[in-house]
């Protein structure tokens, strides 16, 4: 099962000095961030202080406030200069280390074999100065190191050095600029933005932050008094209905438009390419972001969509990567794309998606229905018993609406396995299909509630040390759950199989999987 790629890398205790010339790793000098770092880092504070100073100058002439602002500016500059001068990073043979020694001395180091990913991103300011931010990620518990600003070339070099964890001699030489593009976003796909809920809310977020900034600014300048706020409230309450309707209409029109704009900002020129054993995803218009995922840590993919996206045939693709923090954002491989494209990319990154999916037993439909409708029904009964008929009516309506939801949830259940990868699908409002490599599975959990036991069903969880910790085949029949796990890891299951029972007391659900042959076919 252990491929040569997976094999632990023997690390010689003492490295010979006559290493090939392509060995920037060893004896790398202690490096500093780019000298322009403090320009980027301090830009915000500087802007605020200069603004305050200018305001002070305008309002009060050469007053105390102005001098204070000036002193603050000087201190800020000195602080950033000092931080820059005392912050160093060093790529050691076995670890990546940063040292900060301005006031307190902080040494942070990450063992190089723990490094799971190196992100390069840049804000507008960084790009103007040719700089980039480097995030070095060492998994969920390993922490991360952020280099605030290094030259773009240095960032690329760091990424190559840190991700090539094998001793330098083992790297094949022609690594220079071999990148193979795997997928690229099309302009047309930006129109899919309103289909996903997240981008629709951007106008509200924008309006909220704009209002907040205005309020704070006004408050700082002493423009906002209790009197004025109350006045504004009365004015707003007294607005004619027509104006209110107009504002709401404007918002309704603005929502899809703004969502497309936000989507474009985040996902402009979204490109996925392969380079040096990593999958790299680049995106963004103003802030350009590039995430490198080590190929061998990508253990699965996730295809997610909601009912609107399903109708349009659009799906989002994410990678399941072991030990990747903030996986929802950083593991993203396609923000929204036609299903065929996403499946194609998935098969290039991981391998073909197994299919077609096997539907789950009929008994699962009843269970999905009960689970969807029971909470509103119970709420309705309680409200009716307590005499609140209005709330009881609302709850009953919710229960009626939950029926199609439950039916759809059943329709979406499915699993399939092709001997190398397992795929399971569940959910309706947020449907997700996971594809997971067999090798990545670290355990099995079979869960059966009392109701599942009565219906002859079981939920099989495959534990995976990536993404959200696993994926579940919901409500398969008991025999299928065990057979599925057995077909993937026969060695783990066989010692615990019960001797075949002549006849079960009752079996309502037909078994979909054929009884696996005694000879082991899957990998363990």
């Amino acid at each position: 099962m252990t491929t040569p790629k997976d094999a632990p890398v023997p690390r010689p205790a003492a490295e010979p000095d006559d290493a090939p010339p392509k060995a920037p790793v060893r004896d790398a000098p202690v490096r500093r961030l780019h000298p322009l770092t403090f320009v980027v880092g301090a830009a915000r504070e500087m802007a605020a202080l200069i603004g305050a100073g200018a305001t002070g100058l305008l309002v009060g002439g050469l007053s105390t406030a102005f001098y204070f602002a000036l002193i603050g500016l000087a201190f800020g500059l000195a602080w950033h200069l000092g931080t820059w001068a005392t912050f160093t990073y060093h790529v050691h043979e076995d670890r990546f280390q940063t040292r900060r020694a301005l006031v307190a001395r902080t040494v942070k180091s990450i063992p190089r074999e723990r490094i799971r990913g190196v992100d390069i991103s840049s804000t507008l300011g960084h790009r103007l100065l040719g700089l980039a931010i480097v995030h070095v990620d060492a998994g969920a518990d390993g922490g991360e190191i952020v280099l605030n600003a290094v030259a773009l070339r240095e960032a690329e070099r760091l990424r190559k050095v840190l991700l090539a964890r094998a001793p330098v001699t083992e790297i094949p030489p022609p690594v220079a600029k071999r990148r193979r593009e795997l997928a690229h976003i099309r302009r047309r796909w930006f129109l899919y933005a309103p289909l996903s809920g997240a981008y629709l809310l951007t106008p509200f977020a924008l309006a909220g932050s704009l209002l907040g900034t205005l309020y704070n600014l006004g408050d700082d300048l002493g423009l906002i008094t209790r009197d004025r706020v109350e006045h504004l409230g009365r004015d707003a309450a007294g607005l004619p209905t027509g104006v209110v309707v107009l504002v709401i209409m404007l918002f309704l029109v603005a929502m899809p438009v703004a969502s497309v704009i936000a989507f474009t900002l985040f996902n402009w020129d979204f490109t996925v390419y392969q380079r040096d054993g990593s999958i790299v995803a680049e995106r963004g218009l103003v802030t350009r972001r590039s995430v490198a995922l080590e190929r061998r840590r990508v253990r699965g993919v996730e295809l997610a969509d909601n009912p609107f996206e399903r109708v349009a045939g659009v799906v989002r693709l994410g990678a399941l990567v072991t030990g990747l923090g903030d996986a929802a954002h950083r593991g993203r491989l396609l923000p929204a794309a036609p299903r065929a494209v996403a499946v194609e990319l998935a098969s290039r990154v991981l391998g073909p998606v197994p299919g077609p999916l096997v539907p789950h037993p009929e008994a699962a439909r009843g269970r999905r229905l009960v689970r969807a409708t029971a909470p509103p029904l119970v709420a309705a009964a309680l409200c009716a018993a307590a005499g609140n008929l209005w709330l009881a009516g609302v709850s009953s309506l919710a229960a009626v609406l939950a029926v199609p939801l439950g039916l759809d949830r059943y329709r979406q259940l499915g699993h399939a396995d092709d001997g190398v990868r397992l795929t399971v699908r569940s959910g309706s409002l947020r449907r997700r299909q996971y594809v997971v490599e067999h090798d990545a599975i670290v355990g099995w959990r079979i869960r059966r509630t009392l109701f599942q036991r009565r219906a002859g069903l079981a939920t099989l969880h495959a534990a995976v040390g990536a993404g959200e910790g696993g994926c579940a085949a919901v409500d398969v029949s008991e025999a299928d759950a065990v057979a599925l796990a057995w077909s993937i890891t026969p060695d783990w299951i066989t010692p615990f199989l019960a001797p075949p029972r002549p006849a079960k007391r009752f079996r309502r659900t037909p078994s979909h999987l054929p009884e696996p042959p005694p000879a082991s076919t899957g990998t363990s």
């Binding site: 990545a440 079979i446 534990a463 008991e478 065990v482 796990a485 010692p495 615990f496 019960a498």
Partner: protein, 169 residues
């Protein structure tokens, strides 16, 4: 195709442990419910709908009935369900009562093992064994083991899981 049950039961003293735990939990719940009912009950109050204040008296009754049922039934039920077994390669456990969980974790994928004792478990001479893998879903916990068993198992598993090269991360 079915799984057989794991070979070993947990210590019978686990029944007492679970019973005391449930008693404390539901006792506290009952006390709170009774307090809320006494505070809200009977007369109408501002800000609380009439239909809540009129029926709040049922809350401690419901909590009490459920609590008594859980305290009397659940510990024995759990004892009958809880089983564990460690074969050459796999840790196999069955836990739960109302919902049951069968968990199979291969020793080669274990990242670390430890034992834990709460104050109640120390009084009763019990311990719980926690087995961690790279995934939360694949991490198991067996409570109600005798201290001796738990310690021996933990040492054994930690020793066998020592080779970290293949934990599928």
């Amino acid at each position: 195709m079915r799984l057989r049950e794991p070979a070993n039961r947990v210590s019978p003293r686990a029944i007492a442990h679970w019973a005391i735990e449930y008693l404390l939990f539901w006792g506290l719940g009952f006390g709170l419910a009774w307090g809320v009912a006494a505070w809200l009950g009977g007369r109408p109050r501002d800000g609380v709908p009439r239909w809540i204040t009129a029926h709040i008296g049922w809350l401690p009754v419901a909590v009490g009935v459920v609590g008594v049922l859980v305290v009397t039934v659940a510990p024995v039920w759990r004892y009958r369900v809880h089983r564990w077994e460690v074969s050459a390669d796999v840790v196999y456990t069955r836990t739960g009562w109302f919902s049951r969980e069968w968990l199979l974790v291969p020793v080669s994928r274990i990242q670390n093992v430890h034992t834990e004792q709460g104050w109640l478990e120390r009084l009763l001479g019990l311990a719980r064994l926690r087995v961690h893998t790279a995934s939360h879903t694949g991490s198991s916990e067996v409570s109600g083991l005798r201290v001796r068993d738990a310690t021996r198992l933990a040492e054994d598993l930690a020793h066998r899981a020592h080779d970290p090269s293949d934990d599928a991360t």
